[in-house]
Amino acid sequence: MRNLIVDNVRPFVNGKFEKQTRMCLVDGVWSKDAPEGTETVDAKGALALPALFGLGLDFKEPLRDDIYTFKDGVEAMRRGGFYGGLYESCANAIDDSLKLAAIQQISAKFGLSIAFLGAYSNGYQCKDLSEMVELANSGVAGFGDGNQDCSRTRFLRLAMEYGSMTGKRFFFMPLDDSLRHHGLVHEGSYADTLGMKGIPRVAETIAVFRILEMARFLKVPVHFKQVSCGETLRLIENARSQGVDVTCDVDIYHLLFDDSCLFDLNSFYNVPMPFRSATDREALWQGLESGTVNAISVNHDPVLRQDKEVNFEDAVPGAVSLEVALPAIWKPLSERLGAARAVELLSTAPAQLAGVAASELAMGKPANVVFLNEDKPLDVGTSLFAGQVCNTPFLGKQLPSSIFGTYIGGMWKEV
């Protein structure tokens, strides 16, 4: 635990920023006073936000620890101001309680609030059910698909039916594999101009509709990860109006990029859910405004340099985001939706989806804080990133805000 006085800071308390003040952080708690001799840092008017919660973490350990490790991921979380996250291991499905215990043990060493999604099928193969009851009893936050389509609808039905005993939510990245075919990008004007194989919107909406119908039939709560198009939001609104318990998130990059970026032919824009049209991007923003979208996700997906330093179509899809998420999204998000909704979408709402206690700032309470200079631009270079990866479309670009430091779990990290 580190004690620290942060001077000239504007903490976000009860839905708004307070006047510039001093925060005494003692043994991980926002205290009225600090012991004599406590180090003071001058935040120079920075915002003090409740630390964030990241939906969509995958640190690749244990099977692909040649790419990235849990330690790297935790370092990225601390640099980016995340006190917790929802972890889904796509390379190594958490499909039994032993695997869950092993990864929980690794996670516990770092002291952050990380919840885990179990796999509803063994190895995400959609052939055999995982031991969902044991996984639930051992503490999974819900059940996921490992971002792989389950084309066997009967298996999906049985998995959701069996899993309904646990009361846990099912998390899906909705993309019909057969309609996706070999597509990598949004099927639209830019793909047709470039001659690239596209993924039509119906690949998403058909998958969503199928799952919503199953959720309605079985009365199972479902969540859609990384929703990318406006039509999906309409399907979700419709299902909600009929009583289906459905939540969804949008990925941070999908709020900031659309398929016009394809003209750069930069492999960093190759991500699992394609960037769709400008109209879709605007629909996602409207979904945040209307409340149709519950949370913003980060989908931190490390990819080795040599797997990105190839042409677009041969690149491994994925982007890291923890270190750059807040500097990139804070200004556009808070300017359009207000600071309170921005904090809700980045922190409290995703934590709620994962069943983790929210991070809130209040005098006398444990404090996980991220200090943000909202008007100080950040040049994104490779040194910003933990581990050996830097696969973000922001690399080499400038972001509107920068993180000054984070105080999470009593640890101070100057960025």
């Binding site: 099927e187 001659g195 492999s267 040599q306 190839v310 179509e313």
Partner: protein
Amino acid sequence: MSALEIKHLFGLRGVSKNDIRLILDNAKQFREILERPVKKVPSLRGMTVVNLFFENSTRTRTSFELAEKRLSADTVNFTSSNSSVKKGETLVDTLRNIEAMKIDIVVVRHKGTGVPKFLADNSNAIIVNAGDGAHEHPTQALLDMLTIEEKLGTLEGKNVTIVGDIRHSRVARSNLWGMTTMGAHVTLCGPSTLVPRNTDLMDKITLESDVKKAVQNADAVIALRLQKERMDDALLPSMREYRNTFGITHDVLEYAKDNVLIMHPGPINRGVELDSEIADGDNSVILNQVTNGVAVRMAVLYLLAGGRANA
């Protein structure tokens, strides 16, 4: 000699009318040289060109190689079947190793869209696209344009109809960008599963599903090769139905102008996209295209290299 605005040739989308004009005018001069008894000029003497072909190619690679030799360049052929790529070397490592051997120009063909740009971003060599995925095949389009200009004098105001698998065709894309820049109107015609669905970024084009209507006002008709894989992928029911619906046959040409030019990028599926009597008929300029291919590639290499010597 004027200089090109472009430093590499990735494609024709966004290439200026002046640059295309310059390439075509130079190609016409090289075309004359190719008719001489001694067909060689010293323009690229001392320069090394690598033909980096990751996809099979006979005519394009041969055409480039001839163009390079006619310009007196040293040439090296590098194909994926005999390359270190098969041993797992990355594209960028392959390029850097080749570049370390002090090459000047890389002519590249690859299945991936944007590979030429990727190579240019990672090297100092001049990059020429010899076909990248379904994206662009700019020298094919330039030779098509040269052929039309040679026969009709200009592209301005001409109607060019491209028939076939537009969606998967880099030739069609390069042609539509280049020809519309030069003032032609392009009509795209093909089965609904093989034409682009989203054409709002494609100015001055018309989509037509009836081949007889598509050829009516055409000054030139380009038939594209139909890949057999399209049937496997359920994009078409059969070659037979394709031929009967979209093949350029004598019956279809009844609806076209008498002097319409018949073109094809080769190799032809005779009796599928083009009937033999049409491919070998009076209106066919297919072999002129082949000859012009060498001239156009000479012009592109010469101009991109900076025109260090007079042709």
